[in-house]
């Protein structure tokens, strides 16, 4: 990758990071600063378009969309984050086990991952939610299950490459126990990759939660996430399109930021692209 291209990449990473941090900050701090409670109904101001009084307009019950967007964002980002932590929490140890010990553990775990990979992700998420019954907790679980194999495969592949390296062999030769090798030598080398994959998984989680909630299979009312807000505004598309458009923009901006960040760092680290 030439200097010009690398700087262009850096710029995208900085942009992505700024967007993601901005969204996170708005969602964390925003609700505290906001003047209107998200569930407050204003009968005199129903379906108002965006204006100075209602910065992002109101919905059919006269609820302020900005406040709902900020509190709904907590749900959307929270689900993405929780699902990612759960997916990494299971997927990373599974990949480590699989790559380090090989043998039957590897075979069993990888066949299981193959099985999970043989479903279209969205169809698998819908099926899991369908079996457990639609709720926020089950949506998180579904997203975690769908995202987990990616961590496991990524980590396994890296471990397989790492364990052939001289420094690992040296550690083994001087009698460092397996646990120590994993903790001191393998994990630190994986951290960067896990963080990148984690960033992209948060974005995937937000998108999947939004899809599930849009289908009515995620957050149940009165709680709201960006996906369920979009669904809610759908019947009013011709009278008050902003009810649906605003949360859609929020989702898109957040995903774009996270993807730029994750993809950008990955490209910077990927030797294949350095030319």
């Amino acid at each position: 990758m030439g200097i010009a291209r690398r700087t262009a990449r850096y710029r995208l990473v900085v942009w992505g990071g700024t967007i993601a941090a901005g969204v996170a900050a708005a969602v964390l701090i925003g609700p505290a600063l906001d003047r209107v409670p998200p569930d407050a109904v204003h009968v005199a101001a129903m379906m108002r378009p965006p204006s100075p009084a209602w910065p992002l307009g109101t919905d059919d019950l006269g609820r302020d969309i900005l406040s709902r967007l900020l509190t709904g964002g907590r749900v959307s980002l929270g689900v993405g984050l929780a699902a990612t932590i759960a997916a990494a929490g299971v997927g990373v140890p599974a990949g480590l086990l699989s790559g380090f010990w090989r043998a039957w553990v590897d075979t069993a775990l990888m066949r299981l991952m193959d099985l999970l990979f043989s479903f279209p992700t969205m169809a698998l998420a819908v099926a899991i939610v369908g079996v457990l019954g639609p709720s926020l907790r089950d949506a998180i679980l579904a997203i975690a299950v769908v995202a987990m194999p990616r961590f496991a495969r990524l980590v396994r592949g890296q471990v397989l490459a790492l364990r052939e390296q001289d420094f690992i062999e040296a550690a083994r030769a001087i009698g460092v126990p397996a646990g120590g090798i994993i903790r001191r030598h393998v994990l630190p080398n994986l951290l960067g990759l896990i963080v990148i994959e984690g960033t992209l998984t948060v974005s995937f989680g937000i998108l999947t939660e939004a899809s599930l909630s849009f289908l009515g299979l995620g957050v149940q009312p009165p709680a709201a996430s960006w996906g369920s807000m979009l669904r809610y505004g759908y019947p009013f598309l011709d009278q008050a399109p902003w009810i649906s458009i605003v949360p859609g923009i929020a989702i898109m901006v957040t995903i774009l930021g996270l993807n730029l960040l994750g993809d950008g760092i990955r490209d910077l680290l990927d030797p294949r692209l350095r030319r």
């Binding site: 019954g133 598309l237 989702i251 995903i255």
Partner: protein
């Protein structure tokens, strides 16, 4: 080649066994009792419940039930719908053509758009054109499919009245009547897929443009377009074919959302409806179909890859 295919088929068998166990367990992992779900309010008493449980074979050990389910499923009998009491198999099968049409259209459209855009992006790399194309891909991936669908409906159906917001006409009513309501769903489903393929085409072409055989061709004085089509594109085609097939899961999964937005009577919409009405046998059958379709697509990807690349060993 035949040996490769045979070997690949054998590899699929344990996968199918695992898959069948997973799908079978779906009904048993669901909280709540199937029998309570099946019985109407006024028939809810322990005696009737026990009889029904016996009739359905639910009092048998799990492995007996599994075997029964698998042997029935292999013959196409996937049980009854909880709601309509009709056979699940025909109900799902009737929906397949709609989903097939939608995904095929989206795939064709997406590849037709992604191929030239990706090649242009790679040949003009690091220019404004490349940045615009890559930007389109990034947006396509960040845009939730349902939101894109909503925007398209808003623009082309609600405001401009050019296209219907929803609905489906079987091909029997004429190609025009059939295709018109499919345009918006195809675009909705196709754009994220096109974004993935486009990125991949761009990278594959970038890999190939600097290959020695391309340089040789150019040095021999082969014309620019001939080099692009005959040497660059051909070399890049193998990974592209693979990604087109491997990303079929994205299309099938996307169909779940797209069909729901546009009220298309496909398999995906059936999945969502079955979840909302707790009709687990239907959901089970749809999930099975989705997985089989994806396994078939992956299989096709492997075979195409082996067929297109002589370096792949047939063993």
């Amino acid at each position: 080649m035949l040996r490769f295919v045979a070997h690949r088929v054998i590899l699929t068998v344990p996968m199918l066994v695992l898959l069948s166990i997973g799908i079978f367990l779906m009904l048993h992992l669901a909280p709540g009792d199937v029998v309570t779900l099946l019985l109407p309010e006024d028939l809810q008493n322990p005696q009737v419940a026990r009889d029904l449980r016996h009739q359905l074979g639910l009092d048998q050990p799990l492995y007996v039930q599994y075997w029964r389910w698998v042997t029935h499923a292999a013959r196409g009998d996937l049980g009854y719908s909880y709601r309509s009491r009709a056979y699940v198999g025909p109900e799902v099968a009737a929906r397949i053509p709609v989903t097939f049409e939608l995904t095929a259209l989206a795939m064709a459209g997406a590849v037709a758009a992604a191929l030239p855009l990706g090649v242009i992006g790679a040949l003009r790399r690091n220019t404004t054109v490349d940045a615009l194309i890559s930007g389109f891909a990034a947006l396509g991936l960040a845009m939730p499919a349902f939101w894109l669908g909503v925007l398209l409906i808003l623009l082309f159906a609600v405001n401009l009245h050019w296209l219907p917001p929803s609905g489906y006409a079987p091909p029997g009513q004429g190609i025009g009547a059939n295709l018109r309501p499919m345009i918006l769903p195809t675009v909705t489903l196709g754009i994220p897929y096109a974004a993935v393929v486009l990125r991949f085409v761009r990278l594959s072409v970038l890999d190939v443009v600097e290959a020695d055989y391309v340089r040789t061709a150019r040095a021999k004085g082969v014309g620019r377009w001939r080099v692009i089509v005959w040497h660059v594109l051909r070399g890049a085609l193998i990974p592209i074919i693979t990604v087109v097939a491997l990303e079929t899961g994205r299309l099938l999964g996307g169909a779940v959302v797209t069909e729901t937005i546009f009220s298309l009577p496909g398999v995906g919409r059936l999945a969502v409806d079955s979840v909302l009405s707790r009709d687990l046998p239907i959901l089970q059958a749809v999930t099975l179909f989705m997985a089989l379709a994806l396994i078939a697509a992956n299989f096709a990807a492997d075979v195409l890859y082996a067929w297109a690349d002589p370096r792949v060993k047939y063993q």
